[in-house]
Symmetry: C2
Subunit: 356 residues, 2 copies
Amino acid sequence: MRAVAVLAGVILCGCAHLPKDALIIKEQGSFAAGGVVAQHSGSYDSSKFDNFKPYPEGQTFHGDHAHVFYQIPFNAHPLPLVFLHGAGQSSKTWESTPDGREGFQNIFLRRGFGVYLIDQPRRGKAGRSAVAANIEPIADEQMWYEIFRIGKYPDYFDGVQFARDEESLEQFFRQMTPNTGGFDDEVVSESIAALFEKIGGGILVTHSQGGICGWSAAVKNQNIKAVAAYEPGNYLFPEGELPEAMPSRTGTLTGRAVSKSDFLKLTKIPIVIYFGDNIKDEVTDELGAENWRVRLALGRLFVEAINRHGGDATLVELPKIGVYGNTHFPMSDLNNIEIADLLSKWLKDKGLEEKK
Amino acid sequence: MRAVAVLAGVILCGCAHLPKDALIIKEQGSFAAGGVVAQHSGSYDSSKFDNFKPYPEGQTFHGDHAHVFYQIPFNAHPLPLVFLHGAGQSSKTWESTPDGREGFQNIFLRRGFGVYLIDQPRRGKAGRSAVAANIEPIADEQMWYEIFRIGKYPDYFDGVQFARDEESLEQFFRQMTPNTGGFDDEVVSESIAALFEKIGGGILVTHSQGGICGWSAAVKNQNIKAVAAYEPGNYLFPEGELPEAMPSRTGTLTGRAVSKSDFLKLTKIPIVIYFGDNIKDEVTDELGAENWRVRLALGRLFVEAINRHGGDATLVELPKIGVYGNTHFPMSDLNNIEIADLLSKWLKDKGLEEKK
């Protein structure tokens, strides 16, 4: 808890006029990471300009990069936390919660970690996509309410860790932002590998659909020193060890086979996976329970495979350790401090707070 | 320069271990502002779910809001600065510069201002649009290089305030991000008015296409206590006083007529407008010079109209005060500290640093 230590130091040395909850930021900024460049044939000639009609001859298009905003606190731990959002979301996932409390961005800054917030390629501020997209405003929020396990619309699950006022739900729905090009986990993992090439060592924290991008990025770049995944959507397995496909009401889940040598790279770093509440092991007609039932089941097999091959993976089912009511967004749920405490303890137990 | 004063205080009181360039943030976070809600007819029934195919009956769609990230430094001036980007850009405009220096976000935090960075509706992290969009990856960057007055591609203007290494130009191109719905300055100004309704008094700083949204927002919400506009694209005029349309090679510019009572609201607040270098008064074949020639000329008439009706507007043509080489992005040009100093002096001269 270095940030606290620093503040204590500040107060002891007479800076009591500094609010004790101030964030002391040594450095912050943003940049694009990775991406591709397309060069159109021909030569550029501005005399072809006609009222902003396209004249691509000889022009370039930079796209498929990630946008990254970072903050490094004073006296930070050596390894920063790098946060990747999930489907339909952006780096907003880690900022203020829907009910206006602090998210993981602030919580882990206070705990002395540098934080890097990613907008993945074709999303958010990294919207410049190398492929075309058609975006339609389709009413779908009640479906997401159920898929994300807030409850059975319009009801909330008993004890769900989500504020029940209308404004919080509205802010939650407004967090969603569309793909500006088709989701491609290869494109995303390439941009994350490029980010770690630039910043050096760090700890990757993924959410949901970002899970598969995180495993692939960790195979591509060994600057990723650990991975913490919140409810990952899919997993990598060694060729020949791919589990049977798992059907569910929300689709059939099939793991991803990679070469054994690539898979073994994931056995060299500590891995932790967290799943929230209201996921059942048996088949039901609940969209949320069904969508995550198979992803949790395949996660158990992924952890077994990692450990069977000499790795260090842990899967935490929050209700099984007495933490109840979490939705698909534990990082912004009402108990997100308790969720952060679990991650902090894991980071400390694995020596990642001091690791360089 | 309160941030500096605070740091001096910190150091004097014995906290010399704090880096003197640390940012001391009292509060930071993000939220959605404004927007609309569409409610599809019918009643929601999750049994209609079929492999994520749309089933909008009875579902909602929240869209057309702004995403806002804010930071309040310790001991801040009463009025924060609220930053709105221009066409094809996002809040990235105010973050790190293409060559990796600090942008207006950090510069004005250091000067003791709270900062609010907007992604306007249908852009960046506020991508959820109430109207459909088709996004195509069209090579157009050499055109923007010229429109944004970096030079005549591939040449740089003599003395242009833009770093000449390839990486900086690549980062600049990657700042662009597309509309996820058609640009609608009414939608944007509504979200900005909603933002100021939420946060109270503040100073709006706009760029380029954001200019017209800023004038309209200041008409809609008197919590906007001043407007600083960098190279605004268009202007409001009182009915009956609309200047003649101004043709140029990049299109014909026509001001926007509003009721006299609405226009007079802009005469109650201080306004400053800045234009950079390499804009000529005569017609040329340069895309950049032509695109901004008419917007500068109409800006002169806007300032005359504001002041003729008892207002307080100033237009600063940077080369005419000896500041040379600025592109369309003075806030991130190589001399952006000098550009920020000009804004700071204006804010101080107008009493806006202490105004509540």
